[in-house]
Amino acid sequence: MMKYVPQIKDRANNHNVSKENPLRALLGLLVFISFGLLILLTVSYAGIEALVRLYPSSAVSLLTSITPSFDSENEPGSVEQDLLNRLVSIYDKMKPHLPLEARSYNFQVISSEEPNAFAHPNGTILFNSKTGEMLKSEIELAMIVAHELGHYHHEHHLKRISRIFAYITTSFVISAGFSSSNLFIDVALKSFLFSYTQDQEKEADFFGLDLVYNTYRNVEGVTTFFEKLSEYEIEWISSDLFSTHPGSKKRVQYLKERAGKMGYLKARIH
């Protein structure tokens, strides 16, 4: 006959549950995974960068094919057509001052309430109609045109390919293994990648400023667009860390500094 004796459990030593502090476990994992992702990013970036340098034209074709294209036709007399006419006129004035290689550009205007402009890798410069509504003077609009031309001049599309594909590769690996944690990793990745695109935006801004000055001998209004944009931005939210573009106030500031340094301010900057 067996005898049952109730066990006195040692609650401090539950052998079924890990005694590791969860916060310490999280920290250790984050360090380990970050290191792994850094290696993956570096390898994929370096590999694609090498391919882009070897086959630049194929890289542009590939980028063009994966970027959504727009082919809109505007009604004669519409707001969009009016903006398109202004853009073409500005470009015609800028042409003789462009230090660019022989390349043709095509302007397109899309009806949108969001102020934005975008340089497509295939040479199409897209403008949202709202941008035209916001920018009444020619120089204000010319600055945005010149900025987009600056992206082509510096071949930013080509330079971004490696980063974009490194991001896609790493995101793919992350999405295969993560569920709820991907927001944090995604944000960390973007902050790493976007710091680079901010430099490119600054480079295009400086190119735009120089081109506007060379075309008009006047830079009054070049910062208007960014000043208007900054009115929509809440300062602590518009962090540079998580954005493809520098904050609008920062752009206004460095454009004014550059204009002063280059002597453009003899013509007053707004």
Binding site: M1, V17, L26, S179
Partner: protein, 149 residues
């Protein structure tokens, strides 16, 4: 907007760590207290070695419990799943569910002499179709034959 999402998610994660830890502590306190109360009711896995004479009543008793991971542990688990190894964040979840199920089974047999042939099973429930890789909640079910004399 991404900065806002990041900050909100981070605050939420930290809050859920403290909330989850507190709820887990309360649950363990309850488990310990009830285990002490029910310590004299044997729960055993054998079925044939028991003297089956002078039995007043026999009945199947079942206890089941569903316990969910908190957000912090789910986040930690998703990181641990990537690199493999010991899933420490699930351990307390399984432990709590198993012990709670056994306690509920014992509580379903008030005055019993013993519970024989006890079996414990677990299953994952609450994972959505989009999140098949993650465990939403775990169910533990304990069942056995209660003997009254």
């Amino acid at each position: 907007m991404e900065l806002i999402s990041f900050i909100i998610a981070l605050i939420f994660l930290v809050c859920m760590y403290f909330v989850g830890s507190y709820i887990e502590k309360l649950h363990y306190d309850s488990i310990h207290e009830r285990e002490d109360k029910l310590a004299n009711l044997p729960v055993v896995t054998f079925d044939k070695s028991y003297e089956l004479s002078n039995i007043d009543k026999v009945d199947l008793v079942i206890g089941s419990a569903v316990i969910s991971l908190d957000h912090f542990k789910r986040f930690l688990a998703s990181l641990q799943a990537l690199v493999g190894g010991r899933m420490s964040s699930y351990e307390s979840l399984v432990d709590r569910a198993r012990r709670e199920a056994v306690l509920r089974m014992q509580e379903a047999a008030p005055g019993a002499e013993i519970i024989l042939n006890v079996r414990i099973e677990t299953s994952s429930i609450g994972s959505t179709a989009q999140q098949k890789q993650s465990v939403g909640s775990i169910e533990a079910i304990a069942y056995g034959t209660a003997i009254w004399k």
